[in-house]
């Protein structure tokens, strides 16, 4: 047995799909399960079904690169992700489950005067809105992560960085399972291998969902779908400002701990960290072409490897184990969408682009509060779908790390 075999979580599955629930959540990923978890544990709403097409966490929740951070570039996002970061810090204690949460500190490296300017501004804004980020120079970078080549492969010299000491990682699957188990223990039903075929619509109101296993009536339907949300939304005649792009990543074999910090560079376009198991995990930009394809590309692997080596040349002899892709729902402003849809009875949490994992607890907490109270929580009020029509976008392209 290896030390990472999941030895505590117990998942309990319902025997049958009922025809009516108070709340139906579409999507058994992190956001759907977190919402169910907080509904059941904070609001006593337990007549909840989570409908999942595959297995829990099979979408982006099991494909992301597991970074937790709050060093965003607009005030609303900083507050929201800071809440999420704090909820992550307490999640192991709350659930009693080991999600391999580890605070590592995140270095966001700048290679030009303009890069320095951006990272200084990020540190100032983060500090003002409650996230801990400081601007540091090459010497401090070297102290935090001695493996970084300050010459940056010749073309990308390291001139400074914003450092986010609370930046962390956790194992994505375990976050999903801990939340699923907590929800299940409190009466939530999670139905895997159940495909949604339609939404039940009565006038302007969504009254339930149709699935391959039968129709379900629901007081509230929440879409927490990654990658396919526009298709399901269109079943209610709803258009979302989302384009889906693949995002790729790769891991190496596992090694003893040694890369302590999370290293990212917007100008080089890559980020790297070491997983709890010891694999080096490297990701970069989204594929330019919108697509639902999960196929990896060699061009990505090769260029991403090359860019990573400019900053972390000691990785050259590590053997690549596996590459994969997830589908990112990109919004025009690089911020998520949470809240009402304009169809009564239908809520949405989407637009999770490349920043969804780190938002799981706060997103679930807020959506549960919205379902329970009918009121948009202040924390997510700016993230409503209506912000585009109101011309109040939350532009944060520079914080995606993956533009």
């Amino acid at each position: 047995m290896n030390e990472f075999v999941e030895s505590r979580v117990r998942l309990t599955w319902p025997d049958r799909l009922r025809s009516e629930y108070d709340v139906v959540i579409l999507g058994g990923g992190g956001h759907g399960l977190a919402t169910a978890y907080y509904l059941a544990t904070r609001h006593g709403i337990r007549d909840v079904a989570v409908i999942e097409r595959g297995y829990i966490g099979s979408g982006n929740s099991g494909r992301n690169t597991t970074v937790i951070r709050a060093n965003y570039g607009v005030p609303e996002a900083i507050r929201f992700y800071q809440r999420s970061l704090e909820l992550f810090q307490g999640l192991e204690e709350e659930t009693g489950r080991w999600i391999m949460h580890k605070e590592k500190g995140l270095l966001w490296i700048a290679h030009t005067e303009m890069g320095l300017r951006a990272e200084r501004a990020r540190a100032a804004l983060n500090h003002a809105y409650g996230a801990e980020t400081v601007f540091i120079g090459p010497d401090e970078i070297n102290e935090i992560c001695p493996q970084i080549d300050l010459a940056g492969g010749g073309r990308y010299p390291v001139m400074g960085a914003s450092y986010h000491p609370r930046g962390a990682t956790a194992r994505h699957d375990r976050v999903v399972w801990a939340l699923a188990e907590g929800a299940m223990q409190n009466g939530v039903e999670v139905h895997q291998n159940t495909t949604v075929t339609g939404l039940k619509v009565s006038g302007d109101r969504v009254t339930g969902v149709k699935t391959e296993r039968g129709d379900i009536s629901a007081g509230v339907v929440m879409m927490a779908l990654g990658g396919q949300v526009t298709m399901v939304a269109s079943m209610a005649g709803l258009r979302l400002p989302i384009r889906s792009h693949p995002l790729q990543a790769f891991v190496t074999n596992h090694y003893q701990p040694g890369l302590d910090a999370i290293v990212a560079s917007t100008e080089l376009l890559f980020y790297a960290s070491q997983t709890a198991r010891g694999e080096i995990l490297i990701g970069a930009e989204i594929d330019r072409q919108p697509s639902y394809s999960y196929r990896s590309s060699y061009g990505f692997l090769s260029s991403c490897a090359g860019r990573a080596l400019a900053l972390l040349p000691f990785l050259a002899d590590l053997r690549v184990l596996r590459q994969w892709a997830g589908i990112c729902d990109m919004t025009p402003d690089y911020s998520p969408v949470m809240g009402p849809t304009g169809r009564e009875g239908l809520l949405v949490t989407t637009g999770w682009g490349t920043w969804g994992f780190k938002a799981i607890p706060a997103g679930g907490e807020a959506m549960a509060q919205l379902i329970a109270t009918g009121e948009m929580p202040e924390l997510i009020a700016p993230f409503g779908l209506d912000r585009f029509a109101r011309d109040l976008p939350l532009s944060d392209r520079g914080s995606a790390g993956t533009q």
């Binding site: 190496t252 090769s302 080596l309 053997r319």
Partner: protein, 690 residues
Amino acid sequence: MAVALLRQGIHPRGGGCICLGGDCPNCVVEVDGVAYVRSCQVAARPALEVARQTDTPRLPDESRPLETELRTAFADVVVVGQGESGLAAARDADGTVISFDAHRGEEAIGLYAGPTVVAKTPAGMVSVQCSRVVVATGAAEEQPICPGSELDGIFTKRAAESLRAAGIDLGDAVTIDEQPQRFEGSGRVEAVVTAAGDRIAASTVVVDLGLHPRSGLLRMGQGLEVEVVGDAALTDSLPPPPTEGVVCPCSDVTVSDLEAVWDRGFREMELLKRATLAGTGTCQGGVCLPHLRSYLAAKGVSTPAPFTARPLTRQATIGEVAAGYDLPPFRRTALHDEHLRLGATMDRFGAWWRPWRYPDPEAEYWSVRERVSLGDVSTLGKMEISGPDVVALLEKLYPCRVADLKDGQVRYALLLDERGYVLDDGLICRLSEHRFYLTFTSGGASFAEMWVRDWAETFDLDVRILDRTMSLGAINVTGPLARELLRRGGVDSPPAYLAHVDAAVFGVECRIVRLSFTGEVSFELHHPFSDSVELWRRLEEAGADLGSYPHGLDALFTLRLEKGHFIVGMDSEYDSTPRRLGLEWAARLSKPDFVGKQALLRTNRLPLNKRLLGWEMDGPAPIEGAILWQVATPVGQVTSARYSPVLAKTVMLGWLRSDPAEPEGISCDGRPVRHASHPFYDPDGARARA
């Protein structure tokens, strides 16, 4: 190498069934500092340093130079595998054929869209795009899953044949053809207990348990032109369900681990895999996949599918896959060496190397304000556009009027997207009735060309577009003595403010465009880049006694900030409408139509949530990005901040994230800040127009 080690009586990993087929992790060693190398796939040669791999290797301390090369090729057919069926497929294929033979160290690592096959070979990485792929990868031999499977002295049938062929004596080897109950021994196998319960003493056991197709590439190629031949096409039959022992030797997962997570609800192949890590190690399921499937089948899961096949099917290092990749280079203007000669520190700005300082920004600054200075603005986006519909197109593209421009006139313009957000800014110069010259920001140049072309196509307008960004250089001659320097260059009638003329300057044909970013009289000399050095040197020489000194970006940013000019992307944000920037005048909503007009008509009626404003304060400039506070509440952020030598105070642009009538009690960097109208310097623009 594995054979060489075994010949010496050394098990590469210390124990575990040896397959010599590249399918299992049991011969993994460290070769020349690279961990996780399957010794059966590497040719032994002198001076290779081989070490037994500790359970979890350490990260390397340092790196070696990258030496691997990437070769790209095209072929009609790629055949992966050169066994009997692979050879036949290569022989019978029409057109050009490229084959990869794992026995010669040519390992296909992945099959990608195209189809494209990437292989690691002794000569380097090879990427072949083709019309058709033939997967002839054969089949892997089933591994024994039972207690004792980690002992030394266990070989698959093929491995045993290879070893014997290499002259290695396997002694009293016993062959079994069913999954045994267990192996016994300590370190080395001493006996095997067969499925029937017979205990057979043997120091070497050969297992002949059947074949499983190596279908990774095939599954990876779903939806592509891929066919499969030979043993790789075998129907995969499931082994008996494992009952005890290690199922996944890479991650050390036992049957009881599977049992434990199954009992706690992990009942999908993927959940079982993710909860135990079985199949996520070096061999990517090569050993355990058939057994996991049969485990699940025995639990009543109907036809458990194999998990998704992903590259890499065989491993390569990060350094190897990076072969052929070069970091994006930064462009140099034709004047790059001139800047270096003048002692400039260069920085990368957008896609370009640009002079940052020469290296004294204060001297550069005063040279502009008081005398004359040269600036290299070759990086500006430049475009010539002509044709019968050119006015119609530009009227739609730009929010300002274009049709009323007279020949020789220049107009500053914003470029908006459909949401009414500022994409870029630049100049519109009218050359003649149907011919214009446009400039864009350095960072916006490549996007601008795409943008203009897209809209020309969308509106189906008859125009010719020529991107001159790379073919023309541009030098900004700026300062109160700029006119005198031009006169010395032979220009007696320089253009008036907001005008342009074509004229020779020191014999170099230039388009002289007059506007001002610095706040002083400025002439941009656009010219063929091949003349840039000549023109620069002549200007430099002729300006020497005028006190001319070139200026870099650092000084330019101060000069333009004193004038309150915003820079796209530095001061503006994604959602910057003309109204938010305080540039309502730049969008003429009375025009019949332009890109962004409909959005502006709608959003201009909404409450204004933020504004880019001018600010000033005493003392040195705070960082660009400093927060604007109203008492203890953050209300905005500075985007540009410079100490103004001529005004002896700090001037700034910054966003106020609310819309109070007059912002009161604002501070920044612990000091009071005053809202101030901009331009801060020469607000009437008398100096620029002089």
